[in-house]
């Protein structure tokens, strides 16, 4: 029979169960909470992909520079000079975008560190809550009588603190991510301007 923190069956001695069992019961609840903080593994995987892309752009810049030197359809002709000018401008743009791709990676890696730390604190709170819940679920001993089932309200009350702290952790994470947001806003403006320059040529 599935257990629920707020409906302790009097016949079930939850206190006899191990902490790991308890934590396992609540695992479906922790996943979504941790998802609110973020997924560092995904961030790292994406960062790897963007690094490769930045390196490819740097290679592309090199190819464009080489093309400006060797692929001129008539070096000193007006067409040749125009081609060189366009290719060099494109090479500059590609080089700047390679740098911006790396800036984006840096923002993601900074975010991954903050997210990882917040997830660790959420997990600590969760484990603390499970332990407190387990203690609160123990049958209440009374003098000269059989143990009484725990008070469901008392059981529920032990979760109030951890829930408030998890909310505070997530709020603090938002604050920690503010510099990344600022950096991304600057990057976005720069990349839009870069696209505008390319299409205006």
């Amino acid at each position: 029979m599935p257990h629920h923190a707020f409906a302790v069956h009097p016949d079930e001695h939850l206190a006899d169960r191990g902490l790991a069992d308890f934590a396992g019961d609540f695992a479906p609840l922790t996943g979504p909470i941790l998802d609110l903080a973020g997924d560092p593994a995904w961030l790292s995987a994406c960062a790897g992909t963007w690094r490769v892309m930045a390196a490819a752009l740097a290679d592309d810049r090199g190819a464009l520079l080489a093309s400006a030197e060797t692929d001129l359809p008539g070096t000193w002709s007006p067409e040749g000079l125009a081609y060189r000018r366009r290719v060099l401008a494109a090479a500059e743009s590609v080089g700047r975008m390679s740098s911006r791709a790396l800036d984006l990676v840096a923002a993601a890696e900074a975010a991954a560190i903050a997210v990882e730390r917040a997830r660790g604190r959420v997990i600590e709170e969760f484990l603390g809550a499970v332990a407190a819940l387990r203690r609160a679920s123990e049958p209440v001993t009374v003098p000269e009588g059989p143990p009484q089932p725990p008070d469901p309200e008392r059981v529920a009350a032990v979760l109030a603190g951890p829930i408030a702290r998890v909310r505070a952790i997530l709020r603090a994470l938002d604050g920690e991510l503010e510099p990344a947001r600022t950096l991304l806003a600057t990057l976005t403006v720069g990349m839009r301007e870069e696209a505008g320059r390319l299409t205006r040529r």
Partner: protein, 71 residues
Amino acid sequence: MNTSPGARHHRTLTVLSRHLTAHADVAATARFGRAVPAQLAASFAEAETAFAAWCRAGAEALRPSTMDDAP
């Protein structure tokens, strides 16, 4: 085999234009915003979209026909 400068620039531009199109596709897939809290996700989405837009603009600008038609 000797290749004329015109053919070489055509080939270079074609390859690089394709590269940029591929980068735009990658940027649309490897989205950081999927793995961060909502506010930051929006910032990442804007940056990723701007990057992809530049890639597509670059791909168009580098196409040999565009380059050759440029004033």
